[in-house]
């Protein structure tokens, strides 16, 4: 499989990365080189093989459903580029 320019532009939008025409052009070549490389996985017979979902065979750790942390609004927003009274500020979303 390979990607064309339109697909690259669509994927860039899905990934929320603005690309210029020139960048999209270059990325098309690079992505096709990588996709060409991973193509060989198709040779592997995987019939009856389960996909790996957990690296270590262990049950997911669980804890009691209780409040263990919180009250740190100032810490949470401390690194944000724009805030007001512990809220994140973003451009207007609803007209």
């Amino acid at each position: 499989m390979s990607v064309d320019l339109a697909t690259v532009c669509r994927v860039a939008h899905l990934a929320r990365i603005a690309v210029t025409d020139q960048e999209a052009e270059r990325m098309t070549g690079e992505l096709n080189a990588i996709l060409g490389f991973v193509e060989q996985l198709g040779e592997v017979d995987v019939s009856g093989v389960e996909p790996m979902t957990s690296v270590t065979p262990m049950e997911m750790k669980k804890r009691v459903d209780a409040v263990t942390d919180g009250g740190k609004a100032e810490d949470v927003v401390a690194n944000a580029p724009a805030t007001d009274e512990n809220f994140f500020l973003v451009p207007k979303v609803i007209e």
Binding site: I17, E39, L41, P51, M60, R63, P81, V93
Partner: protein
């Protein structure tokens, strides 16, 4: 007085306890070395002299009272991927401009609890994506090693290139690093240092900037095997805050150093003899085999049939996880924000300006393989292949193999701005061909220096172990180190 920066962690620890010098003196020696070298090597992205001196002072008080932890007063460098409270943490990316977390990663908290001193944050490939430390927003790191009769600057490997360069050039006693596809072991091999990636789940990932969560593991880069054991013992822990942290007590790795490997069964996988591999690498591998045999180990030819599929599977799984993990950099919560005509445009402009080329490339691949219509063909297929790769290892371990010996990298360090690598991303990816299988299977792997090539550049061997049997790796790597000796660059910087 001898140059304090040349001491290993074990040597410095003994001399600090014997009060031959203070941590303040040791720390000042390192800060002076960094000052003199960093303009040239670019290993540190942020030096924290005030914090270092303050921590050293506290350590000296403890040492004077005959107290202190295992790393009391030892100055370390920390990869920029680890969250350090109130201190530069940017994964060497532009998109995290100015980010100073309000929390401390579990791994670094463990080190400070044991008395270590922080010298600063180390350069790396942006978001740990790279094998040459050239994708950093802060520019490339130079390898302290140069080929004989050459002034050409070489890469230190990546992504933990700052860690490897700093340890090799005596700019810290040891460094933290992380490894997603080879990012501890490849730079260690390129700089004549020791690097271990422990079993997945051994070091907590909490507070470490995420790249590919099912593959990322922290580990140390040090000047010798004993130092790696000392540092890993401190870094590893059982952590409630990481659901993949495994509930097994951390052993005393240092106690494994010097133990015999008599009767140990060492596997030699035929699939690691790849086409186009330089003769020097093959020769080094044979030397390693001979050393282990001389030490009483039994050498067994083994097969890991799915080896060649590990790298292509990795280049689906890792970008897929990265595209998801890096979705959080949106210009709202931290770091860089570039204004746009609406919120979606703000996201797109911020991410376009904040991420470098390699990171964008991987996010794009990851987004594509996870997108509707392609998920089964790429991602699901790769995860099934991953099961087979892991099973290859399980089969040989079940057949009685204790550890596997391979080369660490397919070549020695290459030049900065290598044209072949720049032209073809896949060429750069091939650097990890011997290391990436270990991440895919979640196993521990150690790179240990084993010799120099014809140009005088260091080469490393890799040992792969059973899950949570890092002690076997330390034991065996120490045998190689004893036979091969240690390797230091000639100072030019």
């Amino acid at each position: 007085m001898t140059d304090l920066t040349r001491l290993t962690i074990a040597e410095a620890r003994a001399k600090l306890r014997a009060k031959e010098f203070t941590s303040a003196e040791l720390t000042d020696a390192y800060l002076g070395a960094i000052d003199a070298a960093n303009g040239e090597l670019n290993a540190y992205v942020k030096v924290t002299p005030d914090k270092a001196r303050e921590m050293a002072k506290r350590s000296d008080a403890k040492l004077a009272a005959g107290q202190g932890g295992d790393l009391e007063g030892i100055p370390l460098g920390i990869k920029d991927l680890f969250g350090t409270e109130g201190v530069h943490t940017q994964a060497a990316s532009h998109i995290l401009d100015g980010f100073e977390p309000r929390y401390e990663s579990t791994v670094t908290a463990n080190l400070w609890a044991d008395g270590a001193v922080m010298l600063g944050k180390l350069n790396m490939d942006e978001f740990a994506m790279g094998s040459s430390n050239e994708t950093s927003h802060y520019g490339p790191v130079k390898n302290p090693w140069r080929a004989q009769n050459s002034n050409l600057d070489l890469v230190p490997g990546g992504s933990s290139g700052g860690s490897a360069s700093a340890v090799s050039a005596w700019l810290c006693a040891g460094a933290t690093a992380t490894d997603t596809g080879g990012s501890i072991r490849q730079p260690a091999a390129f700089t004549g240092t020791v690097g271990i990636k422990p079993t997945y789940g051994r070091c907590s990932r909490w507070g470490v900037v995420a790249f590919a969560s099912s593959l990322d593991q922290a580990g140390p880069i040090t000047r010798d095997v004993r130092d790696a054991a000392i540092m890993l013992k401190s870094m590893a822990s059982v952590d409630e805050k990481d659901t993949t942290s495994v509930n097994i007590p951390v052993p005393d790795y240092e106690a494994a150093i010097g133990q015999s490997i008599k009767g140990m069964r060492i596997g030699i996988p035929k699939e690691y003899r790849v086409e186009g591999m330089p003769q020097e690498i093959e020769t080094l591998w044979q030397k390693g085999i001979a050393w282990l045999k001389d030490a009483g180990a039994e050498i067994v030819d083994i097969s890991l049939p799915h080896t060649k599929y590990a790298l292509p599977a990795y280049y689906i799984v890792a970008p897929a996880e990265a595209s998801s993990n890096l979705a959080r950099y949106d210009g709202v919560r931290y770091g860089l924000r570039v204004p746009g005509k609406d919120i979606a445009d703000m996201y797109e402009q911020t991410r376009a300006a904040g991420f470098g080329r390699e990171v964008k490339r991987r996010i794009m691949i990851g987004t594509y393989v996870l997108s509707a219509g392609y998920y089964d063909a790429y991602y699901l297929q790769a995860q099934k292949v991953r099961t087979l790769i892991k099973k290859d290892f399980e089969d040989v371990f079940a057949a009685g193999i204790d550890t596997i010996l391979t080369p660490a990298t397919p070549s020695a360090a290459f030049g900065i701005a290598d044209e072949d690598m720049a032209a073809d991303p896949v060429k750069m990816y091939l650097n990890d061909i011997f290391t990436v299988t270990v991440n895919m299977a979640g196993l521990p792997g150690i790179a240990v220096p084993a010799g120099l090539d014809a140009k005088g550049l260091p080469l490393g061997l890799q040992l792969i172990g059973r899950p949570f049997e890092e002690e076997t790796l330390f034991r065996t790597a120490h045998v190689i180190e004893q036979a091969a000796g240690r390797f230091e660059p000639a100072k030019w910087w």
